[in-house]
Amino acid sequence: MSTIIKKKKPVVGNEGMAGMEDGFPDPETEDALNEFNFLNDPQEGAGEAQTSGEWVSDKKDMSPTNEDWHIDQSMLTKLKEDYKKARERGKKYVQRPSKAALQDMLSNLGGEESVPPPSTTPPSRPRPVAAIDLTDEPDIPPGGRVEANRPPIMGIGDEEAIESALGLGELAGLTITNEADVLNSGYNQNSANKEAFRKTWTPKYTLRSHFDGVRSLAFHPEDTVLITGSEDHTLKLWNLQKTVPAKKAVSLDVEPIYTFRGHIGPVLCVAVDTSGEHCFSGGTDAAIRYWNLPDSNLDPYDSYNPSVLADTLVGHTNAVWGLEYDGTKNHLLSCSADGTVRLWNPQNKSPLLNTFTAEDADLGTPTTIDFVRCDTSQVVVGYTSADAVVYDLETGKPILTLDGRTLSDSSNAQINRVVSHPTLPITITAHEDRHIRFFDNTSGNMVHSMVAHLDAVTSLAVDPNGLYLLSGSHDCSIRLWNLDSKTCVQEITSHRKKFDESIYDVAFHPSKPYIASGGADALAKVFI
């Protein structure tokens, strides 16, 4: 693609197509001109004439096969227009749900009980794409599951609300329940609500550009933009509305808009802030990089802009495995193999606010963290021992231990991921021993446990409404769970194995009907 000007001699010659196949019959001139051979593959029927006006004809020749290096301008323009239109269209309906979400958040934070009754919910959650929009769910006739969604969080009825939300006991197993044969526990009839099972996800985009496993991914809060962090030392920014239709495949090809280079070694975790203007990444180099997100309509081959890397948060002394952001206080939380959990305000001159070290050495190393979403003055930390601990951010003291250790009979039941329910005081943990466990943050009791996969569960994500749980596993599958009934409503096989690893991360888009997974096979996949 690039070409060569030889300063001392004029460049002349025909670009021999045979040159590549046969090795190097002719030395440098031809070799130099062969630079672009792959773009003019004779088998692809592209032109082969190549004269001294190399790159002019080059460019022409490239257009039919340009998906490797070039973007055809007309295509690009068209895509840009499409994107703009789609974006405008998107905004129209995105704003409302996000406002509603914000209100939900605020009302929860304030501890108010004046949660809007279910009947007022649907108008605030419009349904632009009926079949695939998760925000459909509030349309379901009010019942137990809606209670689960909108509980009197700080109220007295806590225990009962949680019980009804998590009531399925030991029933969930490895089998996938189709909507036809939803498990009925006998005391939770609501799970039979078929409306709830209608949404299934289908593969839409395969994101190929990383050279090694995709350890982490995070969606933009509003745009259809995804950020992936990989063991290939880079992060990539993807605009899902800037696609190239793949020839035969069902799914579309997307090319990354931007590659973030800064880490020395694998990138292990990514978080995006709530404004969507910044993202954070942690890696084996013990650094947390603080990035300004480039415009998602950027030319991928623009000039290097050093200010994309806004800052590096220094403090950890070993691999950074977890990052979470809380927009209410601009807090960033990190955990590391150095044994510490750290709280940052990335915008501060001295960003490190606090360091938490477990007092109980038996807990092991922190592996994963999350803010307690319904009370962001608390954080929950998962450990290699299989226990999780809820800490108070102000005092730095542990509030309660969620005991996964004595409940597992496996030699390694470490927590690979911890997530907090968006509205309920419930912590969900994914374990190496194939289990997903549910804990009540008020009592510290485990309220549910299930063998969720055939192999280690690596990742969890809860949809923004708190109705569904997504889990990823080294068994190569993603499972979607109804949080109310704890039944698996969909299984998707995705990602191939590398050594004994397969799926590293799963994510829900915070405001649009997208989910994504990242795997050891260097791919990220997006489903709609």
């Binding site: 693609m1 690039s2 070409t3 060569i4 000007i5 300063k7 590549m20 090795g23 190097f24 030395p27 440098e28 070799d31 051979n37 792959f38 790159w55 080059d58 460019k59 096969t65 998906e67 490797d68 290096w69 395969t206 190929r208 550009s209 990383h210 090694d212 030392h233 793949a246 020839k247 495949a249 990354p256 590659t259 280079r261 800064g262 880490h263 020395i264 694998p266 292990l268 081959y301 000039s303 290097y304 050093p306 070993n318 691999a319 193999a337 922190p366 592996t367 994963t368 290699t384 030699s411 690979n416 991921r417 280690a456 191939r496 194995k497 590398k498 050594f499 004994d500 050891a520 096979d521």
Partner: protein, 223 residues
Amino acid sequence: MAEEQKETVIVRRVRPGTKTEDFQNWEDQPFEDMDSTLAVQQYIQQSIANDISNVDGILAAPDGQDEGVWKYEHLRQFCLELNGIAVKLQGECNPDTCTQMTATEQWIFLCAAHKTPKECPAIDYTRHTLDGAACLLNSNKYFPSRVSIKESSVAKLGSVCRRIYRIFSHAYFHHRALFDEHENETHLCKRFTTFVTKYKLMAKDNLIVPILEETPNPTESEA
């Protein structure tokens, strides 16, 4: 029970919480036991983890290995590891001083990642070339599979090699301390030069970094 399991099954995983120094510290898996579609990448990375300076060992293909796939997977790994140089160059290779991608005075390389190929500053050339290589090597059209690759696609590897080699040569001729530091840690240019020579992916004349002629100690620096 734990010990029993250990004897029978080795689970090769880098679990959350693992320290950087413990990555990939598991017992080697023989190539014939690797049944994954990513077996070749696994094998190459395992060899590198064992001894990054053992260039010939890393480049020695297992018996019966398809050569196209072998070359392809190595090239992916080179592009991955070249990020290390790119990150270093970002801190040092200033577009105001390195306004063109040059190595010796003889050549300027034009970056054709654009509508009209242009004289990108060296740092842009470096980034665009790695980004372009990532797109090509992950192209669903040319490289839909990592277990078997069409001859016509294998033929494209040479041009990627020539292009990314310029990152080495620019670093060597214009950022020598940076190059030496990276090379001491990784032996990457030595491995790359050996690779393209072994598989005839580049003409000898283009290999302008005198890495193989140097004494076994590549750290030795010259003016």
